[in-house]
């Protein structure tokens, strides 16, 4: 049983490491973004303050979109959920369209 579990975990990790994702952007699609945002997108990274389209260029569309109750300031908040593998889950919170919160169990993706 232990061997089966180890084999399962290893195969999940191998599959997630070996996956090559198609390019989500071309140079002309991101040319109007600030240079640091372009750099983030090229590296597949996200950072606070990015807009939803910018995050989509960097990471692709979310697996789930959840509308959160507005904060005390009344600002609209939306959560994007990414679940690449059963092990890694990332929640992004956008406030009024800008990335304001990242909660992730996926290492090395946040700048």
């Amino acid at each position: 049983m232990k061997k089966i579990c180890i084999a399962l975990v290893l195969s999940i990790l191998a599959a997630s490491a070996g996956c090559t994702k198609a390019m989500r952007y071309s140079a002309e699609e991101i040319r109007d973004f600030p240079p640091e945002i372009q750099e983030n997108i090229k590296n597949g990274e996200i950072s606070m303050g990015m807009t939803m389209p910018q995050v989509r260029y960097a990471w692709g569309g979310p697996d789930q979109v959840i509308f959160l109750t507005p904060g005390e300031d009344g600002k609209e908040r939306v959560e994007w959920l990414y679940q690449d593998t059963p092990l890694f889950k990332t929640r992004l919170v956008f406030t009024e369209g800008l990335l304001t919160g990242i909660l992730s169990s996926k290492p090395g993706s946040i700048k």
């Binding site: 198609a22 390019m23 952007y25 071309s26 002309e28 699609e29 807009t51 939803m52 389209p53 989509r56 569309g61 979310p62 979109v65 509308f67 939306v78 994007w80 369209g97």
Partner: protein, 156 residues
């Protein structure tokens, strides 16, 4: 904004989060959902102003998908944009014809087909490949040039 408009905006927001959509696609989805014309117009205007609905940006995205994933020719990409509700004016701005690019794309399509056909093609296979390239919107000039290369590879 009324409750109905607020709800329509949320619905639109959700749709736009998963993937890019053109103004006409979103309009159609809102209409199917039963929102009134006034609400639809207001929501589309709001989303355009805030930059979430941008046909020009979507056209560039679809151009890349058409070229790299679907391996379409220039006319094929134009048709793909049209089917996704991009107007001719916006498509014209996004698409500039580059024969070298179309040749590279055609070559990739041929290589892909050759891989699945076991790297050899008989006369029937060539005819089918040519028809496929026509359907994918490649120009006859590009088809002729790439098929000529194919003959050369077989002689080799």
């Amino acid at each position: 904004m009324t409750d109905s408009a607020h709800e329509a905006k949320r619905y639109s927001f959700k749709l736009l989060s998963y993937r890019g959509r053109s103004e006409s696609e979103l309009e159609e989805r809102l209409r199917r959902k039963g929102y009134s014309e006034i609400v639809i117009t207001a929501v589309l205007k709001d989303l355009k102003q805030s930059g979430y609905l941008d046909d020009a940006a979507l056209a560039l995205q679809l151009k890349r998908i058409g070229r790299e994933r679907k391996l379409l020719g220039h006319q094929g990409i134009r048709l793909f944009l049209q089917k996704r509700g991009i107007s001719d004016d916006v498509a014209d701005q996004a698409l500039d014809y580059d024969e070298d690019e179309e040749l590279r794309s055609a070559q990739r399509l041929i290589e892909k087909r050759l891989r699945s056909a076991g790297s050899r093609l008989d006369e029937g296979g060539k005819r089918r490949l040519r028809n496929l390239m026509i359907r994918r919107g490649y120009s006859f000039d590009v088809i002729r040039k790439t098929m000529k290369n194919l003959d050369f590879q077989e002689v080799e």
